[in-house]
Amino acid sequence: MALIDTINPLLTTGWAKGDAGWSLKDYEARGGYKQLRRVLESKMSQDDLIAEVKKSVLRGRGGAGFPTGLKWSFMPKAAPVKYVVCNTDEGEPGTFKDRDLMRFDPHSVIEGMIIAGYAVGAKAGYNYIHGEIFETYQRFEEALDQARAAGYLGDNILGSGFSFDLFAHHGWGAYICGEETGLLESIEGKKGQPRFKPPFPANFGLYGKPTTINNTETFAAIPFILGMGGEAYLNLGKPNNGGTKLFSVSGHVNRPGNFEVPMGTPFAKLLEMAGGMRGGRKLKAVIPGGSSAPVLPGDVIMDCTMDYDSIAKAGSMLGSGAVIVMDETVCMVKALERLSYFYYEESCGQCTPCREGSGWLYRVVHRIEHGEGRPEDLDLLNRVTDNMMGKTICALADAAAFPVRSFIKHFQGEFEYHIENKKCLVDPEVQRMGSGFFKAGNV
C-alpha cells in the first residue's frame, strides 16, 4: 500500500505514485543522485562526510539505534578490501517499512549505500533482502541495472575515479539473518548463525573483511541528510533522536500502514494518523518497537512520544519502529503464545540457552493457554528467561525473553486467571470478532 499519512516527509516523498514512481527517472526528477554527484564532484573528504552524518544524530533504524556516523568511523582506514551491507531482512514481526522503501524508492537506498561506500572506502556492497519479498528483490535488481547503466554504479562513477558496485542477495526464510552477523554468514552461503562478537563487523565482517552494516531505512536517510545538512535533519526530531522515522503500525487500528513522522511525535498523534482504534474499541496494549520489544499497557504508551529515549524511559524499546496495537479483544496469553512460538521457531539453535530455552518458554506458555497451566508456571517462566538473557551469542534469546517478562509483568492478572480458570479472560467469541476477518454473515 502506498503511504497513508506523514508529517514532514523525507523518505516517503517518493512514495506518492506508489508502484509507478520507483524508477530511476522518477528518482532523478525528485532530485535523486544529486547528493552522490555533489559528494563526488566536490571530492568531499571521508571525514567530512562522516562528520555530517554524525551531526544528524541519525540512529540506526534496524532496531538497536546505534549512531550511524559513529559506526562508520569505526571502519579501519587502511584495509584494502571493505564492504557495505544493507540489512533488508525485515523479519521482526510488525515491521514492514523497508519493504515499502524498497518498492517505492529503491534508488534512495542505492544512493545511500554508494555514499556510505565512499565514506568508509568500500568498493562493493550487498543488499540482503528477505526471501518473502522476492518481487521486491527483483525490482531492486532492476533498479541496480538502471543505476549501473546510468553510471552511478561500477567503475569510475561519474568520472570521479571512485568505483563501487552493489548486488542484491536474497534470504529464504530465516528471521535470524536480520542479526547482522547471521546476515553476513548467510551472504557467505552458510546457515545464518550469528557470530560471536567481538570482533565486530567493522573489523571482521563479510569474508572476514571490514564491513559496515546498516538498515535499509538508515541508508535511505543519507541522501536526505546530505541534502538538508546534518543539523537541520537533527532538528526535525529531538536532541539525540535525529530526523524522521518510519513507523509501521499494525493490529487493531483502522488504517494500518507506514507513517513517517519526526522523532518525538506523540503516540496519540500516530494512532490518530492510523485512523484510531478499530471499531472505536479500547486500547489495551502496544508493542512499540517490533515483537522483541517489551509490551506496554495502553495507558502507559498514550503518554509517550515516539523516539528512542521516551520509549526507553517507559520500559520498552523503539526498536524497528513497528507499532503493534492491541485492543481489548486480545487474550494476552494467546498473543504471547504466538510470539513465543515465533522465537522457538526462529532460534538458530547454536547457543544452548536459546535453543533449549526458547522451546521451554513456548511449551509453558502453550500449556497455560491450553488450560494446563500451574500456579508455579509464572515463576518458572521468569526464571527461565533469567537464565537465557545475556548468556547467548546474539540478542535473539533476549528478544524471546522480553515479551514473556513484559507480558507477565503488565498482565499478570490475566495470566493468573488463565491458570486458575483454565480459560481466557477475554471471551473467545469477542476475540474471534476482533480480527475483522469475519464480517457479519461470513462463515
Partner: protein, 778 residues
C-alpha cells in the same frame, strides 16, 4: 604479553590468547564443551561463562580474548549462576541414560552435571528424541544425547578437510548428521568419538563390550605407518577392547587414524595362530613349542650345512619390533646368511652401499608444521600418512604452500599450490625438471645430466613455489620409495633440497622403516636384498611377521619362491591358507600388543612399549622365540634376559633418537630414461590392506577405504580399451591375462597408466607393483 588476573592470581599471557587458555596455564579449570584447542572457536555451548570485571554480562572464556589488566572470576556468583543455568538447559533434553551409555564414566556432561547441575530439573515437558544416524562401520550414534557442540562437525571440516558432518535444521530441531544416505568416510573418522563430549558418538566396535572403569590401560605405540602414534591400549581379561590416542604434540598430536584406532580388532581374529604347527608328511599338526623349535632349528641347520648359509633368506616385516628384527638378522647371520631384508616393497636397491647413513624423515615430525614450502614426491599421502597429511592441511591453511608430484591425482583435501602428475616412468624426468627450474631460479648450477631437459609448465609452477620459500622440504612418499628408479628420485630430491637450502627426507612406510636399518635387518656383503632373494629363490626362508605374497613388491614372485623352497619357517601372529601351503613350521609370535619392544619412527625417535595383554594361547613374544632358536642353533650372543637387553645391544645407549641418520647419497647415477609406450601399472597399497594386522580388522574391512581393488584409468584409457566404467576388464601382466577387475574412471590419472592396488588377493597374480600391463574387455 599482557597481564591478567584470574580468581585473584595474576599471570602473563601472550597477546591474543583467550581467557580459557590463560586459565589452563594457571591450572584453573573452566567447564566447557564446544571449546577444543585444535578446532575453531564456536562459543555455542555457553558452559564456559565467567565473570569479567566491568562486563555487565557473563563472558564465554573460550571466545573472550585477554586484555591487559583484565580481571576474571570463574567462581563468582554471576559466573556460577550462569554456568548452572547453562547446565540446566543442557540437561533438560538429555536422556540421562548414563547407566546404559558407553560414555558413562568418561562423559564430560556427566562429570560437570555433578558439579554444576541442580538435583532436580523443573523441566516437565516431553524430551526431544533425535533419530540416530548411520555413520558407517566405525562410529555408533545416539543422537538424542547430542548437545550440539559441533565439535564433530568442525573436526570433519577443519581437521579431516571435508565437511562430512553438519548441523542441519535450526533451533531445537537442530540435528547433527551426515549428508542424507552418506556415512563418514574420512580415514580420521574415529577422532570424532574422542571429541564428542557426551555419548552421542561412540565406537561401534567397542559398543557395549565393557564399562570404561573395568578396563586396564597401557601406553603403547602404533605398529602401522612410520609416524609411531602414541596409543593407550585398553584391555579387559587380556583382550584389547579399545585403542585411544595418547596425546603427543610432537607425533600424533591428539589424533589417530582409523587404522591405528581400530586395527586392534584384528588381534582377536580367528586367523590368530595360537599353537606352534609343523607340517609332517603334508599334514599340519599342532605341536608343543619344543617340538616346533627343534624342528625349525634342525631344518635351518640342515639347509645351512648342505647348501651353505647363503641358501637361507630372511624376509622380515617392517612392522616387527626392533628387538625382533635385530635378533632375526643375528640369527640369519649366525647361520651364515647375509640375505636378510625388511624393505619388502622396495624394488630399486641400487642406492645400497652408497648411503651416508640411515634414511629417515630428515627432520622432526613437528618441524613439518613449520615448513613454508613442501614438495611431496610419489605419495598417496592421505592414506599412507594420514596424520602427516593432516599437518600439511593445517599448514596450507596458514599459508604454507604444498605441492605434489605423483603418478595419481587423489584428493588430498589439502589446498595445494601446484601439482604435476605423470606416469611412473616419467616421474624421474619430471622431478628432474623441477630441480632444473629451481636451480635456474636460484642461480645454482644444475647436474649436467639435466641439461637436455625441457621444463614443463607444471614443473615450473612447483619450482616457483619452492623457490619462493625460506623453510622448504622435499618429502619422498611410499610410492617414490617403491619406484623402480627410487635411487634416482632420491638423488634428485637431494639435489633439489640442496639448491633450495632446504631439507629432504623419507616418509616412513612402516613402524620400523628406520628401525629396520638400525637393527641391521638389511643385507650386507654378498647378501641378497628382498627382491633378489625372491628372484633367485633360496632353499630356505625365515619369514618374520610378514605375508610375503601381500607384503612384497612382487607378491606372485614371493609366493612362487616360498613354494619352491625346501623349508620356510614363519614366525607370525596369524596363519593364512597361503602360509599353510608354503611353510614347514609356523611359530606363533605375539603381535605388538602382547610383547614388549621398540619402534624407531620415521624421524628416528625410539619408542619402547610394554605388552598390554598376555599373549593369546601359546603365542610368545617374537624376541623370546628368536632367542631360543638362537640358543638351539648354538649361535653366539643370544643370551638375553629381557627385551631391554636386546634393545640395548641393537640400539646402544638409551637415547630419545637413534644416531647415524643421514639421507646423503654418493655416486648414484641419475637414470632419467623412461620406458615408453606400454601401459604402466600404478599400484597403491590401500590403507586397510597394508599389513597383516589391519587386513584382519573386521570393522575397518567394512569401511569405504577397504573397497575391492578396481582397474582405474582416465577416460582416454577407458576408450582406448573399449571399456565403460563398471565393465569388467581382463588385466594381464607379462603377456597372460591374470585378473578380472572392474574398470573405474579416475579422471586424475595420467595417460598410459592403469591404477591397480597391491596387497590384495585379487591383484596378487599381476606380479610386481610396477608391472607393464595389458588390458582388454573381459
Amino acid at each position: 604479553m599482557v597481564e591478567i588476573e584470574i580468581d585473584g592470581k595474576t599471570l602473563q599471557v601472550e597477546d591474543g590468547s583467550t581467557v580459557i587458555e590463560a586459565a589452563h596455564k594457571l591450572g584453573t579449570y573452566i567447564p566447557h564443551f564446544c571449546y577444543h584447542k585444535k578446532l575453531s572457536i564456536a562459543a555455542n555451548c555457553r558452559m564456559c561463562l565467567v565473570q569479567v570485571e566491568k562486563a555487565p554480562k557473563p563472558m564465554p572464556a573460550c571466545a573472550t580474548t585477554v586484555t591487559n589488566g583484565m580481571k576474571v572470576f570463574t567462581h563468582s556468583d554471576l559466573a556460577v549462576k550462569a554456568q548452572k543455568a547453562v547446565m540446566e538447559f543442557l540437561l533438560i533434553n538429555h536422556p540421562l541414560d548414563c547407566p546404559i551409555c558407553d560414555q558413562g564414566g568418561e562423559c564430560q556432561l556427566q562429570d560437570l552435571a555433578v558439579g554444576y547441575g541442580e538435583s532436580a530439573s523443573k523441566y516437565e515437558e516431553e524430551k526431544r528424541v533425535v533419530p540416530d544416524k548411520d555413520l558407517g562401520p566405525l562410529v555408533a550414534t545416539d543422537m538424542t544425547r547430542c548437545i550440539n557442540c559441533t565439535r564433530c562437525v568442525r573436526f570433519t571440516a577443519e581437521i579431516a578437510g571435508f565437511q562430512e558432518l553438519g548441523q542441519s535444521y535450526r533451533g531445537e530441531r537442530a540435528e547433527v548428521m551426515p549428508f542424507i544416505g552418506k556415512t563418514v568416510d574420512t580415514e580420521l573418522s574415529g577422532n570424532i568419538i574422542d571429541l564428542c563430549p557426551v555419548g552421542a558418538l561412540t565406537s561401534k566396535p567397542f559398543r557395549f563390550s565393557a564399562r570404561t572403569w573395568e578396563l586396564s590401560r597401557r601406553k603403547s605405540v602404533s605398529p602401522h605407518d612410520g609416524l609411531g602414534s602414541n596409543l593407550i591400549v585398553q584391555t579387559k581379561h587380556d583382550k584389547v577392547l579399545r585403542v585411544l590416542p595418547l596425546e603427543n604434540e610432537d607425533i600424533n598430536e591428539c589424533w589417530l587414524s582409523d587404522k591405528e584406532r581400530f586395527s586392534y580388532q584384528g588381534l582377536g581374529s580367528a586367523d590368530r595362530l595360537t599353537k606352534p604347527m609343523v607340517k609332517q608328511g603334508g599334514e599340519w599338526k599342532e605341536v608343543d613349542w619344543n617340538v616346533a623349535l627343534d624342528y625349525a632349528a634342525h631344518a635351518l641347520r640342515d639347509v645351512a650345512t648342505t647348501h651353505g648359509g647363503a641358501a637361507i633368506g630372511g624376509l622380515l616385516s617392517p612392522h616387527s619390533t626392533v628387538e625382533e628384527l635385530y635378533l632375526a638378522q643375528k640369527l640369519l647371520r649366525g647361520l651364515g646368511s647375509d640375505s636378510v631384508d625388511f624393505r619388502l616393497r622396495q624394488s630399486d636397491f641400487s642406492a645400497d652401499g652408497k648411503r651416508a647413513g640411515i634414511p629417515s624423515l630428515g627432520m622432526k615430525i613437528a618441524d613439518i608444521s613449520g615448513l613454508d614450502r613442501v614438495l611431496v614426491v610419489g605419495s598417496f599421502l592421505r592414506k599412507d600418512h594420514p596424520l602427516i597429511a593432516q599437518r600439511l592441511r593445517q599448514s596450507a591453511k596458514k599459508g604454507a604452500q604444498v605441492c605434489i608430484l605423483h603418478s595419481a591425482n587423489d584428493e588430498l583435501l589439502i589446498n595445494l599450490t601446484a601439482r604435476a602428475v605423470a606416469a611412473p616412468s616419467q616421474l624421474p624426468a619430471l622431478l628432474a625438471q623441477v630441480v632444473k627450474a629451481v636451480c635456474a631460479l636460484k642461480g645454482a648450477s644444475a647436474d649436467a645430466a639435466l641439461s637436455a631437459l625441457t621444463v614443463s609448465a607444471e614443473a615450473q609452477a612447483i619450482a616457483q613455489s619452492l623457490a619462493s620459500g625460506s623453510n622448504t622440504a622435499v618429502l619422498l612418499g611410499n610410492f617414490a620409495q617403491q619406484h623402480p628408479q627410487a635411487a634416482t628420485l632420491q638423488a634428485l630430491a637431494g639435489q633439489l633440497a640442496k639448491a633450495l637450502g632446504g631439507k629432504f627426507g623419507f616418509l616412513g612406510e612402516a613402524a620400523n622403516s628406520v628401525g629396520g636399518y638400525v637393527a641391521k635387518a638389511v643385507p650386507s656383503g654378498s647378501g641378497l636384498n628382498a627382491a633378489a632373494m625372491l628372484k633367485d629363490s633360496r632353499q630356505a626362508y625365515v619369514v618374520l611377521g610378514a605375508e610375503p605374497e601381500l607384503d612384497c613388491a612382487d607378491g606372485a614372485l614371493a609366493l612362487a619362491a616360498l613354494k619352491k623352497s625346501a623349508v620356510t619357517v614363519v614366525l607370525t601372529p596369524f596363519k593364512s591358507p597361503a602360509m599353510l601351503d608354503y611353510a614347514a613350521v609356523l611359530l606363533p609370535v605375539a603381535p605388538f600388543s602382547e610383547t614388549s619392544g621398540s619402534f624407531v619412527n620415521t624421524e628416528g625417535r625410539v619408542q619402547s612399549f610394554y605388552a598390554a595383554a598376555k599373549p593369546l594361547g601359546e603365542a610368545r613374544p617374537g624376541w623370546k622365540v628368536l632367542r631360543v632358536l638362537g640358543n638351539l642353533l648354538a649361535i653366539n650372543g643370544f643370551e638375553f634376559n629381557s627385551s631391554e637387553d636386546v634393545r640395548s645391544e641393537a640400539l646402544g645407549a638409551q637415547a630419545e633418537f637413534v644416531s647415524g641418520l643421514d639421507n646423503g647419497l654418493e655416486g648414484v647415477r641419475l637414470d632419467l630414461s623412461a620406458a615408453g609406450g606400454a601401459v604402466e601399472r600404478v599400484a597403491d597399497v590401500p590403507i586397510h590392506f597394508a599389513d597383516a594386522l589391519v587386513r584382519r580388522a573386521p570393522a575397518l574391512q567394512k569401511a569405504a577405504d577397504s573397497a575391492v581393488p578396481t582397474a582405474r584409468m582416465n577416460s582416454a584409457m577407458l576408450k582406448k580399451f573399449g571399456l565403460d566404467a563398471g565393465q569388467l576388464a581382463k588385466v594381464g601382466a607379462g603377456g597372460t591375462a591374470k585378473a578380472n577387475l572392474v574398470a573405474q574412471l579416475d579422471a586424475g590419472l595420467p595417460d598410459g597408466v592403469v591404477r591397480i592396488s597391491a596387497a590384495h588377493a585379487t591383484t596378487l597374480a599381476l606380479g610386481p607393483m610396477s608391472a607393464v600391463l595389458s588390458v582388454e574387455k573381459a
